[in-house]
Amino acid sequence: MELLDRYLEAIRKHLPWKRQDDILAELRANFEAQLEDREAELGRPLTQVETEDWLRELGSPLRVAARYQPQQYLIGPSLFPIYWMMLKIVLLWVAIIYCISNAVLLATERLSWHALPHLAVSLPFSLLWSAGVITLIFAAIELVSVHFPEKLSKVGALHNEWSPASLPPLPKPQKDGKRRSYAKAVTEVVAQSIFLSIWLIMPHYPVILLGPAAFAVQASPITYAPVLAQFYWSVAAFSFIEVFWKAVKLARGTWQEKGQVQRIVLAVLGLAPTLLMVSAPGRIYFLLKQSGALPPGLSLDVLNQGIYKISVFILVITLLQLAWEVGRYLLNRQHQRAAAL
């Protein structure tokens, strides 16, 4: 029966190559027995049309062969939750870094504004490429865990190694009784990313911060002391860490938690820029340019002293906030221990 032979040959191409002959021999025996039964019922051989209908009932060669494959999915159920979480985190970060880096390049005129439509169209391709890389990595891990299970025996057990004691506490509802919404959490990340972009662009466009006064400052005999550059970069680093932390919480689905530890860590990190300002050598924040001279009545000392006093004030407020957060954290721990007893 030529059609059956062609059908079996088409199935062979998609079978696992090590077992092709064995599987095909078994399929041939079973299909031929089926064919004999049908012909015995009809009392005659099947016609071409009847044979085609019968083969159509059996299913396409690809579908028949697929059931003999050892692996039926690209990423299996044990690995999929981790893959999904990583994919969300990576895509979020690719989008943030793409937007920030191109915003800086546009602002510093390393890219023309005419490139903006192209950049907008390219973002989905960047995201697709990143998703493809992550998927390939996890598909490779799945392949190794299926064919060499002893090498990746812990992959399947990842979800089993967790402690109920490490579960996060229930989120507290807002004062109006509602929980912190996803939209609000996303808005915070986007707004902070925009702030970071503006902060990074600002040295090239001081008008963003100072407005028209920026031109007056540029023309003035005053220039920035090195401590202001350190302050600038410490604020950028702090902002980046804050955006990163919030983006990770968003991707992990824990955006509803305020996180006392997070607040304390951020408060400690937030001390760095202020400490830099307070400990500036000679408390000098602005200097006279080499060829400059201040107009009569204006004093750099007064300006620098003023900035120093403001920095000290901010430092005291930040330390009080930190003390408050640490106090609340210790009090909560005490209450939890008392409740456990």
Partner: protein, 111 residues
Amino acid sequence: MTLSENLFENLRLELRRGCLTLAVLGQLRQEHYGYTLRKALAERGLAIDESTLYPLLRRLETQGLLTSQWREEEKRNKRFYRLSADGERIFTQLVDEWRSINAAIDNIFAH
């Protein structure tokens, strides 16, 4: 197929999927090759596709629950399956489990 029919069909397949292994092991207390096994199951009320049955037989053999041998019968080479020693042991355990589940389900329906 409507949404409701589709849902029923999916749930029906899920329900059957768990029973097929037990049915196949039960029928292979006697020796069969693929086609006669399928016929025997159909005659006893459990119709099963070739595309489901044959890979299932391979998987059960890989798991050590079945043994197979090629033999010529009616001028044709056929692969005959039957339960292995491990397969008989597991089958007995599965039958007990099946009866226990059946009793529990009947209990639930009775209330």
